[in-house]
Symmetry: C2
Subunit: 449 residues, 2 copies
């Protein structure tokens, strides 16, 4: 996968939004090695089981065969925990909250761009806490204040938040929480996960701390991540027949000032408009390549999903106005030239909200309540079913999966899930966007189902 | 190499400074794959010669042996050029200016932290131009407006700019330009390089464009990079016996407001000071961990190189003042409490300039003009020699290298080097900071000597 400049610039805005919120929770960024000695991965026995098909293995380095092979990191729990065991000695060192922006590799035979590629870019958070309660609270804080917030406010995608079933839980975790988005085609996409790791890694790596009472205790940990898959979600939720629609907050170019036809003073007026918009903090670009046909240029800008296009030609100029086309609404309106730079920032805010509203309507139209396993399967053929978990249970989950329907997460309509056995707990049943047609008993690595 | 949060945060500020200036030249960021099929590297014959000792090779993926091995990128010229050959077809596509922030791997048997590690983080720029002149102008623009500017203005390190000799030139380049810093111990460090690649890669990958006159021509290219080695330069230029001294512009924490001793109202006043400083855009942190000894806390902050420490205790408070300690000058002064938040930003600016001034004095003290090869070698034992290139030539360069002295770059005291044969061209002779004791005929990959 090559990420070209336009997509990469969207990723940069997304990274900035995530990074700011991650740091607001108190976490700091660090960087751990790409290559991990194979023996490290064997330390956490449950974690390692059967994962080799996903690994890229380095057997030669420095011109000769290595005594111990190294794997290209599929995730960094093991190497981070090697450091944690050296860095943590006292309750004063806790909580230790780290995040890493990195590339990871999980071998894919059937890659899908942005959704499932052998290499992808992500952030992975790793934290250690003195108590289970503190670890849980932090994992949920990441789920809500970072992931859900960025997905809703920046990506303009409403998400279902909930707990993964035993079957879908990351093997190294005691509890996996996820955000599930519903794509335009009615399929679900796991957009981000936050895991309580319990004390499994702490025991495997001997990560202990001396508590206030002098006792030595193992730390409680979390890990959490989102990836370039979020770009895939954006495409599949907001895209339409004319191409991408990028939410204004993430758009590298929010407004293109577009010279529709050359004429006296047109370029100058358009250039002045760009300056005015930039002075108001709008990311504006200038397009006066009138040697290329207007139609083709419009198609290009729409394909890239630039939120607002301000068109200016000799006729507009003489009537003192511009034509403003808004990608989110597929409409055009005349705006007095003198008011363009004042109105456009408001339009961008409104269209950010509009995209979220459209995605919410879409999700609600696709989501229905079911009373039974059979009804859930019927609904999930075209959309998303909400059904009492007590009506399914792990056996129902298995049967649904055999028919291509997956339980994405469990949640209570009012409040977080604390107890899977409560009767009001609902299962979200849907087809997976990136269904590979094969079954996996467990998510062997975190953050990608 | 694990980059812990304090060092990584300095890198983030350095990245931001570089990224802003890179984008100001018109380049945009993109992302290319980590793993490169071995056959890609063989396409550019000169480039590949003898480089395998530096490569990490992936032979297994997806649970089985790969038909074709892949290398972990040591640099991305080959894979980028694969894309360029598909993306470029007309003069309208030029110049194509791309940059990538990425990790790369070059196997090291004797790594040195931040200077020479098997994996390092860097940016690598890759560009394609219609003419040789345009490519050269852009390579020099990067050297001056991006690298030299950031090194001098942000890192507070003066650099010698010049052209690499044939011997030291990156094998894939026609001309390599570099910035050389002089460390505290009198050794030179290659801090960044910018290469004219000529048409070698374009021929190997068939990257041609249709020019305005309808003719098909190969593009002219550049590549350029700086890495986490810059953190090593910062440590070795500004560090002193008490630890790091981070230039204010790059310091994650610019000011620590330090409660020297607990007392009535002290924490409140200190907290208010932190708020005032932050309101003025200063990155201020609060330290009131008075249960740890004052001496130990001061040692910690000095070790980390935080530029300014504002100390506050009960006695300071009652006399309406604070003690301000400045890391760059190793001095302390009393400042009226009401004036601290106004004065500190000016102190940060002054200390940024002070570090550059100190480093310039150091460099000038270490640098001397030599009239002969013998004298150059004598000077280079303790510092840096400037000697007429005509007094050395490639044979003199070889002899010096056999004694452990390297010609770092060639330059004209007044103006850029256009012609190696001009009599006023000077060679900069010094020991290499990361001298490995072995000789390499060529820099096989760019950006690291």
């Amino acid at each position: 996968m090559v990420i070209r400049p336009w997509a990469y610039a969207i990723w940069e805005h997304l990274q900035a939004a995530l990074d700011e919120r991650i740091k607001a929770t108190g976490a700091r960024n660090a960087y751990f090695p790409l290559l991990i000695p194979e023996s490290y991965l064997r330390r956490e026995a449950e974690h390692v089981e059967g994962f080799s098909p996903e690994l890229a293995v380095v057997t030669h380095g420095g011109g000769k065969q290595l005594e111990e092979a190294a794997v290209v990191r599929p995730t960094s729990e093991t190497v981070v925990n090697g450091s944690f065991s050296r860095w943590i000695s006292s309750y004063r060192d806790l909580p230790l909250l780290l995040n890493q922006w990195a590339n990871v590799v999980r071998w894919e035979l059937r890659p899908r761009l942005f959704l499932r590629t052998s290499e992808f870019l992500w952030q992975e958070g790793h934290t250690a806490h003195a108590t289970r309660e503190d670890a849980r609270a932090y994992a949920l804080r990441i789920l809500d204040e970072v992931y859900t917030a960025v997905m809703v406010e920046d990506l303009a995608i409403p998400v279902f938040r909930g707990r993964k079933t035993e079957r879908e839980r990351f093997a190294g975790a005691t509890t996996s929480w996820s955000c599930e988005g519903i794509m335009r085609d009615g399929r679900a996409l796991q957009m981000g996960t936050s895991h309580e790791l319990g004390q499994g890694f702490a025991r495997a790596f001997g990560t202990q701390f001396t508590d206030r009472d002098g006792a030595r205790r193992h730390v409680w940990q979390t890990s959490w991540g989102v990836s370039t898959r979020l770009l895939g979600a954006m495409i599949m939720v907001h895209g339409d027949d004319a191409g991408l629609r990028v939410p204004p907050r993430l758009a590298p170019t929010q407004v293109v000032v577009f010279v529709a036809r050359a004429g006296e003073g047109v370029s100058e007026s358009a250039g002045a408009l760009v300056d005015e918009l930039r002075a108001r903090g709008v990311r504006a670009e200038f397009d006066d390549c009138t040697e290329v046909s207007t139609g083709r240029r419009i198609v290009d800008w729409e394909l890239r999903g630039v939120p607002v296009r301000v068109e200016l030609g000799p006729r507009d100029l003489s009537s003192g106005q511009a034509t403003v086309a808004r990608r989110a609404r597929a409409d055009k309106q005349a705006v007095a030239l003198s008011e363009v730079s004042e109105k456009v920032p408001k339009m961008l805010d409104a269209d950010q909200a509009e995209l979220l509203a459209q995605a919410s309507v879409l999700r609600d139209r696709l989501t229905h309540t079911a009373d039974s396993e059979v009804e859930a399967a019927d609904i999930a053929r075209r959309g998303v079913a909400r059904v009492r978990w007590s009506a399914l249970g792990p056996a129902g989950e298995d049967r649904l999966l055999a028919s291509g329907f997956s339980v994405r997460c469990l949640s209570q309509p009012d409040g977080p899930v604390e107890d899977l056995d409560r009767p009001e707990v609902e299962a979200l049943v849907a087809r997976r966007t990136d269904d590979r047609g094969d079954e996996k008993r467990h998510a062997l690595f975190p953050e990608r189902d």
